[in-house]
């Protein structure tokens, strides 16, 4: 198996991966970063969202090999120096999670939404932008509130 290397959460890592190994498999199985989840296999649910070179992508739909040399941020790398990212804090503050399974993908997607749309987000924009992330627990009500509040503090 060929070796690939990338920078994950600020650290240089390398590991072996088959050609068909998905980025999410590499993160979870090779690097042990199990915060990124697999919820659907068909790129709809968004539980696997991570940032690659600064952009949110679904890591169940990217080959690990294609990310050779990339900079990857996962949910584990969002807090800096023990301080939660404002979006993480907002999800807790606004009860934007219940079972927690979709949460890492939601938070990573939300950070990306703010990067692309700015800090002042209206409800309609947030709901539209979250089309790639499914939550079965919260009914989205508090997720929308969390994203709005987190955006303002970013």
């Amino acid at each position: 198996m060929p070796a690939i290397s990338m920078k994950v959460n600020g650290k240089a890592v390398c590991g072996a991966a088959e050609g068909r190994t998905l980025l999410v498999e590499f993160l979870r199985d090779t690097l042990g970063l199990t915060g990124t989840h697999v919820g659907c296999d068909t790129s709809q649910c968004g539980a696997c969202v991570v940032h690659v070179n600064g952009k949110a992508i679904k890591s169940c739909t990217a080959l690990a090999m294609a990310c050779d040399g990339a900079e990857v941020t996962t949910i584990e790398g969002l807090a800096k120096n023990g301080k939660l990212h404002p979006m993480q804090e907002a999800f807790r503050e606004h009860h934007g999670l219940q079972c927690g399974f979709c949460t890492p993908g939601m938070i990573m997607a939300a950070v990306d939404i703010v990067k692309r749309n700015g800090k002042k987000l209206d409800e309609e924009t947030i709901r539209h932008e979250l089309e790639g992330n499914i939550c079965r627990c919260t009914g989205y009500h508090n997720i929308v509130k969390a994203v709005q509040a987190g955006a303002e503090k970013m």
Binding site: T34, D41, Q44, E76, C99, P104, R127, T138, G139, H141
Partner: protein, 787 residues
């Protein structure tokens, strides 16, 4: 109210690990020497298995073992069970066919588990599974619950007409007599669409066998690990309970679908011994979840409601065909019976009710409890027919309900339930105000000017949860008791561990349960931990489903805390040289009446363990107490939901523009968490009404909605922000006065949404989901008529 006690909006203690990616779900766990399982599943809805040839697959790289029903039989591993016996109205027991953990001779639905391949990697297991050659003799199939009994297909030998039971409740003669006196009768035919639960975490399991100690361990995505252990031990016969540990770590949502004991989990733990004790991991792909998780609903109902001239309800007749799928799942039989027809009185004083239910096999995935379990189906029937009756009698739907509300408690319905407390009119009034009901005509006119059809719909639901008492459910056929257990361990330094038989998979027990401890013992919330989900750590418990963990689980904790307080008072009295009767306990401090003597809770805990200051013959050292709580009645949450929709007359797209929910849950421990439960439930109900529907192709028997590309889960832009309100009548059957809140949203909302959509369109009925296509089609005859 203290900052972290009962009634406080305490931020969740469990969130830190979830928001930082440190949650620990079953698939996150990897054991040394772990192998991977992949299941060979039936591609046919109904077929005999002529042969299974594993020779080629066995030679594939990495394959460790391949197992079929032959191996299961060799080890005498029992089949899956249904734990609730229902008798037909003729007295005969339900006709349950066998449900082996790997199919024996026959497959009965697409996705039925035929064989398992165990290999060194996931990909190797999957590749080898594709090489297992199963020769099938395809049989005719039936997937439609309405057609199964009259089809020529026979799914199980035990049930010649595919009917599992024909059950009834209520007084048929009295109900028929009531209809004879009626001034108006409303009739309705309803389909409660089949749903797929779709917890975001797919089911998963790791089974391992320790050859040294002859001991099994199963990590699994379960809502009730002790029940899983009991069933795997007593019915599958794998190992006695003390030789089997079941751990349900963080579980990513359940909604009922993770109550049940499934084949895959049992196979993983059984087959581990077969491969010399190496752990076997299985994680469902999403399509496997669609195919093999127990589905929900799937009822076809005809209902008739009799009224006098003033709109007062005289009688109610219901006939329901309920799909069971191809096998009876763990609690399938109680869902369309005791969880459904016992709620057909709704919030109304109905003198006579009669309901008949046929439970029917179809060549589909098993159907069992899904958020609400029977109660959404009952509410849908009651609230759709009540709304329709009001429209037919030209009465305001709110007024029609008001005329029929139950107003005095306790109220014995004609269908078993005895409602203990409630104030339905208070919830209605509050909901009307929050929804600005008076302003609706103006909003409707404004919508019309924009080419939109606006409608409003009500749902005045009641549900029964915290199912109990054990003796009563036992007399109705339940195979288990429905109490809950708790143990309170106070450590010598005064910190507290609560071991609960409840299981949290999103409900926030680590916070809510800790709030109760703060309230009672005055300890800091950070000094309380909640332990659950591991049969080696926690005493036997019944788990979490049916909105029972507050009313039943917390009451068990409360009872154990009573004992802790009583014991601690004795210790405090001994240390402070006072009579135990003179010791008072408040805000975490023990005081002696009429003196300035006092001890903090932590000091008393330490004294209990040090045991220097009291006679151990009179007071046992230590501070640890347990309790089992078996409630005296169900609890009865109720409320009124009002939904307002706008339908685009050109496209048929329905938008929920306003949604009001007013609920009575009795005492609320953490309003933030309760509101979250309501939000999630409503969204699931809006999903049922507008987007979700499981479809099996009639011709091929294939599951057409087998991924998120075909099964439309509600997204953020399918639902609005919700307006919530609460009313409160305390539940008299538990000391905290709590009812359940976990399912209410999903129970109430489908009827509210469909009443609104039918109001907007001016039609009597529409099938769920009211997708744009369905709505658009319904509008065409009206458009033609208008032209």
């Amino acid at each position: 109210m203290t900052e972290t006690g009962i009634g406080a909006r305490v931020k969740r203690k469990e969130d830190q690990r979830f928001i930082t990616g440190k949650g620990r779900y079953t698939d996150d766990i990897n054991l040394k020497g772990q192998t991977y399982a992949y299941f060979v599943r039936s591609p046919h809805a109904h077929a005999t298995i002529k042969s299974i040839n594993t020779a080629k697959a066995a030679k594939m790289p990495g394959v460790v073992g391949i197992f079929t029903s032959k191996d299961v039989a060799e080890d005498k591993i029992g089949g899956l069970i249904c734990g609730w016996m229902i008798h037909s109205k003729d007295g005969s027991p339900m006709k349950a066919g066998p449900h082996p953990i790997l199919a024996q001779g026959k497959v009965r639905y697409v996705g039925d588990h035929v064989a398992v391949v165990v290999a060194e990697t996931k990909d190797q297991a999957k590749a080898a599974a594709a090489a297992v050659n199963v020769s099938y003799g395809v049989l005719p199939h039936v997937v439609d619950v309405g057609k199964s009994m009259t089809s020529k297909v026979q799914i199980h030998d035990a049930a010649p007409d595919n009917r599992v039971f024909n059950w009834s409740i209520g007084d048929q003669a009295a109900t028929d007599a009531a209809f004879k006196t009626a001034a108006h009768v409303t009739k309705i035919d309803l389909v409660n669409n089949r749903l797929i639960p779709n917890a975001m975490e797919p089911r998963a399991a790791i089974g391992s066998y320790d050859t040294g100690s002859d001991h099994y361990t199963l990590y699994t995505t379960s809502q009730n690990p002790h029940v899983a252990r009991l069933v795997i031990s007593a019915f599958h016969g794998l190992a006695p309970e003390h030789k089997l540990r079941v751990i349900a770590p963080d579980v990513g949502g359940g909604f009922g679908s993770k109550i049940f004991i499934y084949a895959e989990e049992v196979v993983c733990v059984w087959a581990s011994k077969r491969i010399g004790g190496r752990p076997i991991k299985w994680t469902a792909e999403r399509t496997e979840s669609f195919q093999s998780d127990a589905h929900g609903r799937d009822h076809v109902t005809h209902a008739e409601l009799a009224m006098d001239r003033s709109g007062k309800i005289l009688g109610f007749r219901v006939k329901t065909k309920a799909a069971m799928g191809a096998y009876l799942s763990t609690f399938a039989s109680c869902v369309p019976t005791y969880l459904y027809a016992t709620l057909l009185s709704g919030q109304y004083a109905i003198p006579s009710i009669y309901a008949e239910v046929d439970a029917i096999y179809t060549n589909t995935a098993p159907v069992d409890a899904y958020r609400g379990a029977g109660r959404p189906e009952a509410t849908y029937v009651v609230e759709r027919i009540v709304e329709t009756a009001a429209r037919e009698m030209k009465l305001d739907p709110a007024e029609f309900r008001r005329r029929n509300f139950i107003r005095s408690f306790p109220h014995q319905t004609p269908v078993i339930m005895c409602y203990d407390a409630g104030d339905y009119e208070a919830a209605l009034n509050k909901a009307l105000e929050l929804a600005d009901y008076k302003g609706f005509p103006a909003r409707k006119a404004a919508s019309a000017r924009n080419g939109k059809l606006r409608g409003i719909g009500f749902s005045a639901y009641i549900e029964a949860c915290g199912i109990a008492p054990s003796a009563a459910v036992g007399s109705l056929g339940a195979g288990v008791g429905l109490w809950e257990s708790a143990e309170v361990r106070v450590n010598p330094v005064g910190t507290v561990e609560i071991l609960t038989g409840s299981h949290s998979h999103g409900q926030g027990h680590e916070t809510t349960f800790a709030q109760l401890v703060c309230e009672r013992l005055g300890v800091d919330i950070n000094n309380v931990s909640i332990v659950h989900g591991d049969t080696d750590k926690v005493q036997f418990g019944m788990g979490t489903y049916g909105s029972r963990s507050g009313a039943v689980g917390m009451t068990a904790i409360s009872k154990a805390l009573d004992k802790i307080e009583a014991k601690a008072k004795k210790v405090a009295a001994a240390v402070m040289e006072a009579s135990a009767d003179d010791v008072e306990f408040k805000n975490g401090t023990f005081t002696v009446k009429g003196t300035d003597k006092k001890m903090a809770f932590g000091e008393v805990a330490l004294a209990a363990y040090v045991a220097h200051k009291f006679n151990s013959a009179e007071i046992e050292p230590g501070l640890k107490e347990g309790a089992f709580h078996d409630p005296s009645n169900f609890v009865f949450p109720a409320g009124v939901h009002i939904c307002e929709v706008e339908v685009d007359a050109d496209t048929g797209v329905t938008e929920v523009v306003n949604y009001v929910a007013v609920d009575d849950f009795g005492t609320i421990i953490n309003p933030m968490i309760v509101e979250g439960q309501v939000h999630g439930g409503i969204a699931q109900g809006i999903g049922q009404a507008l987007t979700e529907g499981c479809v099996y192709d009639t011709e091929s028997g294939q599951l057409l909605t087998g991924s998120y590309m075909d099964y439309c889960m509600p997204r953020a832009d399918n639902v609005p922000s919700f307006k919530l309100g609460f009313t409160m009548t305390k539940c008299p059957s538990n000391p905290l006065g709590m009812k359940g809140c976990g399912e209410a949203g999903a129970i109430a909302s489908p009827a509210a949404v469909m009443n609104a959509v039918t109001d907007a369109l001016g039609v009597r009925d529409l099938p769920m989901p009211a997708s744009p296509q369905t709505v658009w089609k319904a509008m065409q005859p009206m458009k033609k008529a208008a032209e």
